[in-house]
Symmetry: C2
Subunit: 240 residues, 2 copies
DNA sequence: AGACGCTTGTGACGCACGTCACACAGCTTG
DNA sequence: CAAGCTGTGTGACGTGCGTCACAAGCGTCT
């Protein structure tokens, strides 16, 4: 079956091939059946907004495929990208649990497949299944952990260069390239968006990149970035 | 019974008078008994360190009485105060759940009574009791929520004045004074510590306070601060 | 082709704030 | 009462980076 956006929809969580390595998906069969009966499999095009910060929680969105940009916005129009969510993550989880408004805005950055579960159904599901409930606690711990990282990076570093270097290192870690001598990574974000991730201005980001290229620390061809001097990058990340 | 630090220890959670209004403490009797059997009631003096960020999680610390400073530190000696924990909060929760190192450092700022539970015991306890597990999820949601607030305040505001104003408003909210025309609040922290909470320097904090006093927005006698012009404070908090 | 939109690149300018340096005030301690 | 410590108040200085303004590269649409 093809979704409206030319993506194959995985009908059932029971037969999902993506399942094995996900935090939340690998539940025992009984729980999975229960989950199956309350979830709505849906698909979104690029640029769709799953929910907006401040809205009362309608439910959770389990991201199965694609990636989603989570951001925090101020009334004055300033915006800060908190993280890019990957498949397996549950979005809107903490708001759904606590009943408080969503604390971030979620927007797809490519076509996504998502399982939506209504709040009431989800809460009932959790109260019936310790294991699922525990998984949720694990997910929340994870979210809290990365939020702390965010706070650390925002609060403890005193230069934009430091934060940018940290971001690059983190990315090269996540895509498994970090082991190599010269990690390579695809920049899927514009300078503007990178700036929003580290809380600085677009111009500063392009200036920093220019500087790093001049110093032979990185090198770019098209949208891929080659880190030529990891040591120097780490140097920048950890101090000045 | 008097603890080493001149504080009455509440022997049992079952008879605890503080219990009713706590998130985690009001469990059904069976769960409470189970909890009772694995917890260690302990007391700490002012300035005690419950755990340090980076340590592997030994377990959780349920704060019953007193308050605890949670901070994030950088190797370069910079430090940022993330929040002041109040009774009822579970400290070290997310690390204990996930098994990752504690993400913050916890230090008592007055004599505290704490219930400690070893990690293994706690995990077993959770897996036996959906309700407790759900409470934990709620607590984690809460923690995540305030972490998001922190990120918002750090990332979206462009002046120290804005962050300070936000902090003062938040404090006056929390102690219930915010409804009054001229909220009053006790400053329990030094300028240095306030600076660490909003990620700026001590001098800037005292200069900002001086400025606000000059503009008749606040007024201080001893360690209590009187907010004379809430509107102006909000003005500062939301824009500039 | 040109027109339009989005992204990147770069110079000029200014200011908010970090840093250093020192004075003063209140407190505990011997 | 001097000595010492911790917290507050304030001036001088330098700078990182936000902001504005504009040019140039590149893809898409008509």
């Amino acid at each position: 079956m093809l979704s409206p956006y030319g993506m194959e929809i995985v009908e059932s969580c029971l037969t999902c091939k993506l399942r094995a390595d996900r935090i939340f998906c690998d539940l025992p069969a009984t729980a999975l059946h229960a989950f199956e009966s309350i979830k709505y499999a849906t698909a979104y095009p690029q640029g769709a907004v799953l929910f907006v910060e401040g809205q009362l929680p309608r439910g959770i969105f389990v991201l199965c495929k694609g990636s989603v940009k989570l951001s925090i916005n101020s009334p004055n129009g300033r915006t800060m990208i908190v993280k890019l969510a990957e498949p397996g993550e549950i979005l809107g989880l903490s708001a759904t649990i606590s009943g408080k408004p969503y604390e971030v805005t979620a927007e797809t950055i490519d076509p996504c497949q998502v399982n939506f579960v209504k709040r009431d159904d989800f809460l009932r599901f959790l109260k019936d299944d310790v294991e699922a409930c525990f998984k949720v606690a694990e997910q929340l711990s994870d979210k809290y952990h990365t939020a702390c990282q965010e706070v650390r990076s925002l609060g403890l570093s005193h230069s934009a260069a430091e934060k940018l270097a940290n971001l690059l290192l983190e990315w090269s870690c996540k895509n498994g390239e970090s082991a190599k001598a010269e990690p390579r990574l695809k920049l899927r974000l514009t300078h503007e968006e990178i700036a929003q991730m580290i809380g600085t201005s677009r111009e500063t980001v392009t200036r920093l990149f220019a500087e790093m290229k001049r110093r032979q620390i990185v090198q770019s061809k098209g949208s891929t970035l080659l880190i030529r001097n990891t040591a120097a990058l780490r140097e920048i990340a950890n101090h000045n």
